[in-house]
Amino acid sequence: MSAVLLKDVFFAHDGAPQMHFNFEVSQGDRLAIMGASGSGKSTLLNLLAGFETPQSGSIQFSNIDLTNVEPALRPVSILFQDNNLFGHLTINQNIGLGLAPRLHLTKLQNDAVNSVLAKVGLARLGKRLPSELSGGERQRAALARALLRDRPVLLLDEPFAALGPAMRIEMLDLVLELQLEKMLTVIMVTHNPDDAEYFATRVGFVEASSLLSTMPATILNDPPKGSALSTYLGTKLPRFSA
C-alpha cells in the first residue's frame, strides 16, 4: 500500500514554470528529494502538507484523496529549516501545542510532553525559551512535537542544513530511531548527497520542475553516466597534490 501518492499533480507559482509530480512512496520508506535550488523541492512538501493546493491532480494518503483537506487534518507533520518554534513560548508550551492549542495542559498531557522531551534528549530544558537553546536542540524540540502529534508521515524541509556535520548525523540518527520505532514514512528535502546516502532508502530527483519516479538510494553510489543526477552530484574532488 502506498502511504503517499501524487497522481499527476500540477502546480505553478505566478509566472514560474509549471511543476508536475507523479510518484508514490511506500509505507515505511525514507525518501530523499534532491534537485537544484528553485527546482520545486519545497513546493512539493508544501503541497503534501496542504500549504498549497494543486491546480489539478490528486494527493492521496493511504489511498484516501486528501487533495483539498486543510493542513491540520492531514496525517502529516513537517519540520522546517528554521522557525519551527514560537519564540515567545517555552519549549514545553511549544511542544504542548502538538496536543492542544492551549497553553495550560492537563497533568496527563504534561506527562506526555515530558516523556517526548526525554526521548529527544531534552529532559529538564522544557521551561526554557527557544532562544536559550542551540540550533540542534531547537530542532530536537520540533521533532519532539512531531512525535507527540503522532502522524504517520514526516516531512523534513532541510531541517538540519544549518547544523554542523557531527550534529547533523546525530539528528539523522534520532530521526532514524523514531522512524523505525513508529514505522513512519519520511520525505526529506536535502542538498547533501552524504545525508541522502546515509539516511534514505529511496531518492527522487526533481528535474525540469517535475518528479515522475523515484529510485533506490543505492543509485547515489553509481549514478548513470550522463544523467541529470550525475551532473547534479558532480564528481568527488580528488585530493589535490602539488
Binding site: 500549504f51 493542513p71 507533520s77 528554521d82 522557525n83 519551527n84 514560537f86
Partner: protein
C-alpha cells in the same frame, strides 16, 4: 563636512538650551513662581489629552492593521497603505481646518448633527477636537507600524499554526497578539510623544484656559502675555519631558515597512464570512477618517473665490516666501543627512542610522523660544525670523529626510565604496559621479518630502512671524483669526494642493527602482 553638520545641530539646539538655562539661572525666583496652579492645570491637560489620544489612536489601529493583514491581496490595498502614510506628512493646520470644515459649528455635517443631536451642534472645539485631530494623525501611523509588526511574523509560523489546527482565537492569542504586544510600547511612546508635543492642532482646535498644552502656553507667554520667564520655565519642562520620552522610545526598534508580502496566513486560514464583513467595515472607516477632512477642505475651498485670492499680493508673497523657506530647509536637511551618511567616522554613521529619532523630541517651539529669548537683548527677534525658521525647519525635516534616504544610501555604499576608493573618488567628486546619478530618484524624493513637511509648518512662524514675514500657514492662520473664513478655506485648499503635489512627487519618485 560631517562635523560641520553636527556642529550646526549642536549650535541650534545648544544655543536655545543655553539661552533658556541662563535665563533660568539669572532669576530662579521668578522661574519658581511660574509653577503655579495654571501650570499644573495645563501640564495635567497635556498629559490627559496625550493619554486619551494615544489610546484612541492605538486601539482602532490594532483592529485595522489586523484587518489589513488578514486580507493581503485585494485591489487598492497598496493605495490604502500609502494613504495611511499621508496624514503625518500633511500640515497639522490643514488637518485642523479639515476637521472644522467637517464637524465645526458651521461645518458641512453640522446640520445633520444638529438634527441627530436634538440641539444646536456645538462644534468640535476643545478636547474633543484635539482628540479627533490626533487620531486622524496617529491612527494611520500606528496602523502601518502594527501591520509591519504582523508582517514580520515568519511565514513558517502561519504554516505551523495551520498544521496544528489553530482556531481563530488561538491564532490571535499565540501569533497575532504576541507580535502586536511586542510592537506596542514603541508605537505607544511615539504616538504619545507626538500628541504631547503637538502645537498647531491644539492652537487651532483648543485654546482657552480649558484646553491648552504646555507647548501652546509657551507661545502664548512669549507672544501675548509677554511673560518670558514663564516661557523659559515651561520650555525647560517640555524639553526634559520630551527628551525623556524620546529616549525611552529609542530603546524600541520600530519596523516601518514590511519586507515580504506574506499571503500565507490568509490563504491557509481564510477569514470567515463574518470576519470579512467586520474587516471591510474597519478598513472602510479608516479610509473615511483619513479622506473626509481633505474632501471637506476641497469642498469648502472650491466655494471660495480662488482666482481672486490667488491674485492677491499678500497671498502671492506668502506662497513664494513659504516655498523659498521650505526648499531652503529641505536642501539644508539634505546636505546634513548626506554628510552624516557619508561620514568616515562610523560613530557618526551609527548616530545617523539610529534615525536621528531623538530629534523628534526637540520641539520647534522650545528651540524657537530659546532663540527668541537669546536674541531679545541684542536685536528684535522678529528680524531674524527667516534664518530661525529655516534652521528649525531643517531640524524638523532631518529625521524624515534621513529615513527616506538612508536605506538606498547604505545600499549604494555597500556596492560602490570599494570601487570608488580604488578609483580615488572622494567627497563631492564621488557624489557627482556615483550617488548623484545612481540615487537621483531617492534624492529628489527626500527633497520633496522635506519641503512638504516644512511648507505647512506653523510652529516657528507663529513665534517669529510678523506683518513683514508671512508664510502661507501664518497668513491662513491670521485670516482664520479675523473670521475671514472664506479666504481661509481657499488658502487651505491652496496649501493642501501644494503639499499633496510635493508628497505625490516624493512618493512616485521613491517607487522607482533605485539601484540597478
Amino acid at each position: 563636512m560631517a562635523f560641520a553638520a553636527l556642529g550646526f545641530l549642536a549650535l541650534l539646539a545648544g544655543g536655545a538650551l543655553l539661552a533658556l538655562g541662563v535665563a533660568a539661572l539669572q532669576s530662579p525666583k521668578v522661574i519658581s513662581t511660574a509653577f503655579d496652579s495654571y501650570f499644573l492645570r495645563i501640564a495635567g491637560f497635556t498629559l490627559w489629552q496625550a493619554t486619551l489620544s494615544t489610546l484612541l489612536s492605538i486601539l482602532p489601529a490594532i483592529l485595522v492593521a489586523r484587518a489589513l493583514h488578514r486580507h493581503p491581496v485585494f485591489i487598492g490595498r497598496s493605495l490604502i497603505i500609502r494613504l495611511m502614510a499621508l496624514p503625518l506628512a500633511l500640515p497639522a493646520l490643514i488637518a485642523a481646518l479639515g476637521l472644522l470644515a467637517l464637524l465645526g459649528r458651521a461645518g458641512i455635517l453640522a446640520p445633520f448633527l444638529t438634527w441627530g443631536f436634538g440641539a444646536r451642534w456645538p462644534g468640535i472645539y476643545g478636547l474633543s477636537g484635539i482628540l479627533l485631530a490626533h487620531v486622524f494623525f496617529n491612527m494611520p501611523l500606528a496602523t502601518r507600524l502594527f501591520l509591519a509588526a504582523l508582517d514580520a511574523v515568519p511565514q513558517d509560523h502561519w504554516r505551523l499554526a495551520a498544521q496544528l489546527g489553530f482556531k481563530p482565537l488561538s491564532r490571535f492569542r499565540l501569533l497575532e497578539w504576541p507580535a502586536i504586544k511586542s510592537a506596542m510600547p514603541g508605537i505607544a511612546l511615539i504616538v504619545f510623544l507626538l500628541c504631547a508635543t503637538s502645537f498647531t492642532l491644539v492652537l487651532t482646535l483648543g485654546g482657552g484656559p480649558q484646553a491648552t498644552t504646555i507647548e501652546v502656553a509657551i507661545y502664548q507667554a512669549l507672544r501675548f502675555d509677554y511673560a518670558p520667564m514663564r516661557a523659559v520655565a515651561f520650555a525647560l519642562v517640555q524639553l526634559v519631558f520630551a527628551f525623556g520620552l524620546a529616549l525611552m522610545a529609542s530603546r524600541f526598534v520600530l519596523v516601518e515597512r514590511s519586507q515580504n508580502i506574506d499571503v500565507s496566513s490568509a490563504k491557509l486560514m481564510p477569514p470567515s464570512g463574518a470576519e470579512r464583513l467586520i474587516n471591510r467595515v474597519l478598513i472602510g472607516a479608516a479610509i473615511v477618517l483619513i479622506v473626509s477632512p481633505m474632501l471637506a477642505i476641497l469642498m469648502r475651498g472650491l466655494q471660495a473665490d480662488i482666482i481672486k485670492l490667488a491674485t492677491q499680493n499678500s497671498v502671492i508673497t506668502a506662497t513664494l516666501t513659504s516655498l523659498i523657506l521650505a526648499i531652503s530647509a529641505s536642501l539644508a536637511a539634505f546636505l546634513i543627512v548626506v554628510s552624516l551618511l557619508s561620514a568616515r567616522s562610523s560613530a557618526i554613521r551609527e548616530f545617523a542610522a539610529g534615525g536621528g529619532g531623538i530629534l523628534l523630541s526637540v520641539s520647534p517651539i522650545v528651540i524657537g523660544a530659546g532663540w527668541f529669548i537669546a536674541l531679545q537683548g541684542i536685536i528684535n527677534p522678529l528680524k531674524a525670523a527667516p534664518v530661525i525658521i529655516v534652521a528649525v525647519n531643517t531640524m524638523m525635516a532631518l529625521p524624515f529626510v534621513l529615513r527616506a534616504l538612508s536605506p538606498s544610501w547604505a545600499a549604494s555604499r555597500a556596492r560602490h565604496d570599494r570601487l570608488a576608493a580604488s578609483l580615488g573618488l572622494r567627497g563631492f567628486r564621488r557624489f557627482r559621479i556615483v550617488e548623484g546619478v545612481a540615487l537621483r530618484a531617492p534624492i529628489f524624493a527626500a527633497l520633496a518630502f522635506g519641503a512638504a513637511l516644512s511648507l505647512g509648518d506653523l510652529g516657528v512662524v507663529a513665534l517669529f512671524g510678523s506683518d513683514s514675514l508671512q508664510t502661507l500657514p501664518s497668513l491662513l492662520f491670521a485670516r482664520l483669526g479675523s473670521y475671514r473664513s472664506d479666504d481661509a478655506a481657499g488658502l487651505a485648499l491652496l496649501l493642501m494642493l501644494l503639499c499633496l503635489g510635493l508628497l505625490w512627487l516624493a512618493d512616485s519618485l521613491s517607487q522607482k527602482e533605485t539601484l540597478r
